[in-house]
Point group: D2
Chain length 449, copies 4
């Protein structure tokens, strides 16, 4: 992920230093387990831990360069690290990695990194939830037009709109928790996963210390269906971000102007057109969503490794693990800030709601006719006729409101009382379920009307 | 999905008849709820139910044609159905669909269809699990070479291989159950989901009768993150199918010949080469996996509908819902049958295991040297040297086995006892964890050695 | 592809009848080539042609059932066909398929089907181009606001908008022609493509008769990079359809109302809201674009067949070849009709253009200040200030137009003459390049202003 | 793209320095064009060029930081650059970017970067072609078994195998050239692309100097169908890389051992198993192919920008443009090296070819029976029977070769002469078309047999 879309805490998880720190931790824990099982001298395990901890604490770019130099020779990254570590630890290093295979280290490390990353993502989701709840509560009863097909449908509240997105992000949080459990496993099972040279108790010990579960059957690698499921979860979340971003982009468009991203003092919207204030954050989120979604297919293609394992997944994961988590972290932070500071224009919402001459109440009128005993087919034709008469003359001198047209219509007069037609024009009738739905979504009703 | 890859029970779920049956059920249930709430006459609800049930029972291609004809006029599928239904029910039909919108019917129906489909898929997974367990138990202690990078690594058991796939399919079953819960929701909330014209108790009533949960916030549509998550689950399962299919394809290749798809009497492998017996089932499963995976991206793109809803998702779902579930159903059935009837050749497995002159035991020798106090780096060099000497002369007159080379090596003689080297060549040492792992995966150990 | 999105001519290409017809044609042509080369009796080739032609002419569902029955036994589709054909032809059938392999027939047939399909798609593109040209010419000088980020930017013409889409579809036509050439190859090279049992002249002969080129190296199959490139082209075209569909969806939204899909008499937009007129065609095209795009990944995954070939691509192609071409054919026809009948509202375009109080001319004012020697940074600040003053009071009693604010601004007065400011407010200045651009795109200027 | 998979020359194209250099070049060229048109003082254009060139020549991290600081304030990257540039140029900077919009700079710059990148990729393809040709010529007549479904089919030559991949890479080269032309366009058309403030001659001038074509209709942005087509081409190439990599992985697997990636002195295949020599390069290429393919979908999703443009494509392109070209550059270089140094084992190829007891000649025997007048169906049954008898007893004491079984078969004896059967067992008969095919693919035959 380019630096522009990276935040430090998440990037640090994927830095070589963190990876080597975790590699060492796994090796040290395995040694401690072996020492406890009496397989290697306790003294050696202690030396490994102490000197290794010291080496990791003092880890610098000199060490990075040294490891890279060894890898250039051996063409094997874990062996390069172990060789460097041996240089730091001395003769006791011969007990390090005993009976283990590189994948034991690599895959367990990846599990640790992904859980670290996920914990940050969960915080990000919480920020988004907080911002959405704030807007939902602030606008619980702010009337706005609901739109299907981007065509005015019936009134709703802006708070309910936000509640819908909130509910989706609650689901996304659940999905991420499930995904976290998917990838939080540990494998210390040796070549092709048979524990031929390793006591399974070592795996249990390391898993326990790292907060992971043991992998039931690792075939040298942790099976990649877990990671595929993980990236699917990120992609579903990204798509939820896109849905909300798309909403904001629509609300800010010049003809709608119902809400707007906060425009910073000093900000410039366009190099050529000083009047521009563009929804660049939500557009950016749309693009980021595309990126994060694009990781799903390679993650799925990684599942079918050959036999007990091949290494084709590695190039993919070296990119999508950082890119996916860094990108989503950035997107969630950006989304939370954007929604928190979103400028909402209730007056413009009201104005837009009225802009179609009342035809948005056609559904209620249809029901009134049905209640009056008119057959659905006939009622539909009558109401559609009155609505279209208003619609096609919107803004024209001879335009008439939907209520006016209804009031004159020979098929309505005498069937539906004027008071009923008046009542049908009341947008506030559409708010009656808001309170109950808020209780359902937020567990609390929020502010009163 | 082309008929070639379709099975009748799953296809029937997506046939128009089933869709219309569910549509009617939703409408009838909604009427019954309204009648109970006193909103419409109980008598009418009864008439609707009775005449509707009769119409659905007698449903034939004549009805299909009639509905299609109405749709050609109205260009709206639900209105077409309602009009046809009104013709069957008579004047009481004016109480049908009262205050509801098409999406209430369409989306709730889709939830019912997807749960029906998922229940069949769960059976399919169970068949795959049964076949895998059968092979795992049958070959719990059948020695075979484990391969990393498709290169012989260390021995393992064919049963453990199968157990690994079994464990993956257990995870897939969990994922499918989660996915089922994702899509099993009901929305009867009216235009833009405000319940303006509908008592929320109607939704509760219908949901309860259909075995669904109510959707917390539907915005006329059930939010599409649910369906995206569902298709992700199918794709992860498909990738697991591909992994197993790829294994079989490898095992059957002419140079490996460790297992083979059952070849039917009368079957022909090639029009030109009568000797051919090809792994066509597993290749076919590989292709089907690609297809099912391809549904993920459009499903994710469907999430960001505009405002309260648009209809862009519809064209996608009309295809991927049947294609995905029909395709996966077929694939699971094919996979279960293929694995159940898989012909396994333990003798060939044993032969392949020995074919590299014993170098596959290099890891154990490395450990023996380490235990003898040789530094990892040195030990590695010594063992690599002996292994390569065997490898590069495989099948040549002057070729020598790994054991022979080790026995002569000046850096080994005197450090590792011949008995230790002999023991290191014993493949059965790699089976010691099998029993415990079987208990973990299957909850039972399976047959004794 | 579901019938709803299928048109007969394209569907017929993928019907079994057409496939068998092409299979026979390939076999018959190969026999004729062999006869000419003296490899089989001329008399036999004639018999094969005559009896085969007769059988194909009389081909009915009885034949389909017979072939299916044989395939159920042999589990091989081409062998099933050949067996059926032998029943029709008699003893001379022993010369049919001589030295050939199934793929020779299957892959060459697919090439023929795809070229047939592509020719229909080219017609579809031509219809779209015609509709776009019609709208471009009709609205060459129809002023409308250009929007970046969905925010009003500067005026443009609706004709130029259409010209941009026209230019994209011209590129799409080029891409489809290139894609057609990619897949229009013939392979009659036998098992693993060595011509061991076939004279290469047979391939040349068949290719020539079918209007194909010979495949330089077929390895039993025609290499699948060709098909991958083909589906990429379809996906790029689909994305162009989506771009245009998205434009229409935006233009029709209630707050914009600059254009509208034709609404048929009798059409109903919503079952619940009789006032609705939704852009359902363009939304549907958006969904179809997602479907067609989804074929790219499996097509790319099909490229890496194992060794000389495997059959994993087959399941994919049996679906995406018909689905992709049928879906795109339907989409192009729908798009052409939609654009041809698109109802355009120039008055509403003019009204929207004026709705932001003239701030859309900020760019020209910025330039005027620059020409007056004001530094870019300063000029920007001045113009932004005036524009925001207008923007934030749009529709309010104390709102003032951009021109008014500019006229009063102390940093402008004396630097830019009032006439220059007046001229800067003239939208028609943005049309000056239209004519030249039309010449470039259409090869002709279209109507005069 | 992570540094591990990046090469300096390609990475440099995407470094900020190169981007700013091109931005300046575009601005400077535009000024020169304006000066030539008399729109700005020639003197100023000269000053801009001279001071700008000097600033770019001295460009350092100080400048990068300064630009970043301005962007933090303006939140607009191009304005930040222009402000920095103004600081370097002084008052004449007011003529820079006059009437232009950021996209004129950004999109034209991207075109330049992508053409630079493509030229490097073309060199990479040439290296791959050279390596493939080398192997093809070296092994023009090296017999090897051709495999369909990974099952031995009929003999072929390793050179022909290589020729097939060569032919695919020739097509890939063509595709990349087409893709280069797709994205090599220039837009200097101003806000929403109307040339309202810009003479189209400026665009022509800049395009000409940069080796680009003018974009017929840019709507502020260069239309993204061009970039989508570009990434499709990269993905098809990546899939071709995967096909070849997959071939090598298969050939190197322990049971096949027909070819092997060069194993460097000092290289280590596994931390646990010193005997390992894994095809890690080809596996890595498989993973890289997945990554490069994954860019296609977001690139396609970028096409449908809203109205004249939105900015959602930007986040995608900031990642996939460098990632795609850097990744493919690395992959091509790795592939070329791998194929150039590939170790081929003709003896093992010969051994494998013989390993199925001659059944691979079943096709030729089938033809011999057909020529002898036996009906296809009967001949097939006879040959299949003889082949299966050999196959099922491979390696067993009572196993018999295919030739032996044929020689005894009562349905063959008397129909096909022993000499004909003997001749059918000759693998060299499968090489007869190699020479002609080489001429077709390489334009020259290569070495004689």
């Amino acid at each position: 992920m380019v630096p522009r879309y990276s935040r430090p805490a998440m990037s640090a998880i994927w830095a070589p230093e963190n990876r080597y720190r975790i590699w060492f931790e796994i090796e040290a824990l395995a040694c401690e387990a072996m020492a406890e099982l009496g397989e290697i001298p306790k003294e050696s395990a202690r030396t490994i831990r102490e000197r290794g901890d010291a080496a990791m604490a003092a880890f610098s770019s000199v060490d990075l360069d040294r490891i890279d130099a060894i890898e250039a020779e051996t063409r094997h990254d874990v062996i390069a690290f172990l060789t460097w570590l041996a240089e730091k630890i001395g003769p006791d290093s011969r007990f390090v990695h005993l009976g283990m295979t590189s994948s034991d280290v690599l895959d367990t490390c990846l599990a640790v990194q992904l859980t670290q990353a996920t914990d940050i993502l969960l915080e990000g989701l919480d920020s988004v939830l907080a911002a959405l709840k704030k807007q939902a509560f602030a606008h619980k009863y702010t009337l706005t037009i609901g739109r299907s097909h981007a065509i005015h449908a019936e009134p709703t509240s802006f708070g309910l709109k936000m509640a819908g997105h909130y509910a989706e992000f609650v689901r996304n949080r659940e999905r991420l928790l499930t995904a976290r459990a998917e990838i939080a496993t540990c494998a210390i099972s040796g070549a092709v996963g048979t524990f031929a040279h390793l006591d399974p108790k070592i795996e249990e010990f390391v898993a326990d210390k790292l907060g992971l579960k043991i992998e039931p059957v690792s075939t040298q690698v942790i099976p990649r269906d877990r990671h595929a499921a993980y990236f699917c979860a990120l992609a579903v979340i990204a798509s939820g971000i896109e849905r909300l971003a798309t909403e904001v982009r629509h609300l800010q468009r010049s003809e709608v102007r119902e809400a707007e991203e906060f425009f910073h003092p000093g900000q410039k919207g366009s190099s050529a057109m000083p009047h521009k204030r563009n929804p660049v954050l939500s557009e950016n989120l749309t693009g980021l969503a595309r990126l994060i979604r694009s990781h799903v297919v390679p993650a799925l293609e990684n599942v079918a490794l050959w036999h007990e394992r091949d290494i084709s997944h590695s190039a993919v994961e070296r990119n999508i693990c950082p890119d996916g988590t860094i990108g989503l972290d950035f997107a969630l932070a950006r989304l939370a800030g954007m929604m928190d500071k979103l400028v909402v224009y209730p007056e413009q919402m009201a104005a837009n709601l009225e802009s179609l001459g009342g035809v948005v109440h056609s559904g209620e009128v249809l029901l009134a006719l049905a209640r009056a005993g008119v057959l659905r087919e006939d009622a539909y034709r009558i109401v559609q006729r009155c609505a279209m008469a208003t619609w096609t003359k919107l803004g024209k001198p001879d335009g008439r409101s939907f209520r006016e047209n209804l009031g004159d219509d020979p098929d309505i007069v005498g069937k539906v009382a004027p008071e009923v037609l008046d009542a049908a024009m009341d947008s506030r009738a559409h708010l009656k379920a808001v309170d109950a739905r808020f209780r359902l979504v937020f567990g609390e009703p929020g502010p009163a009307a």
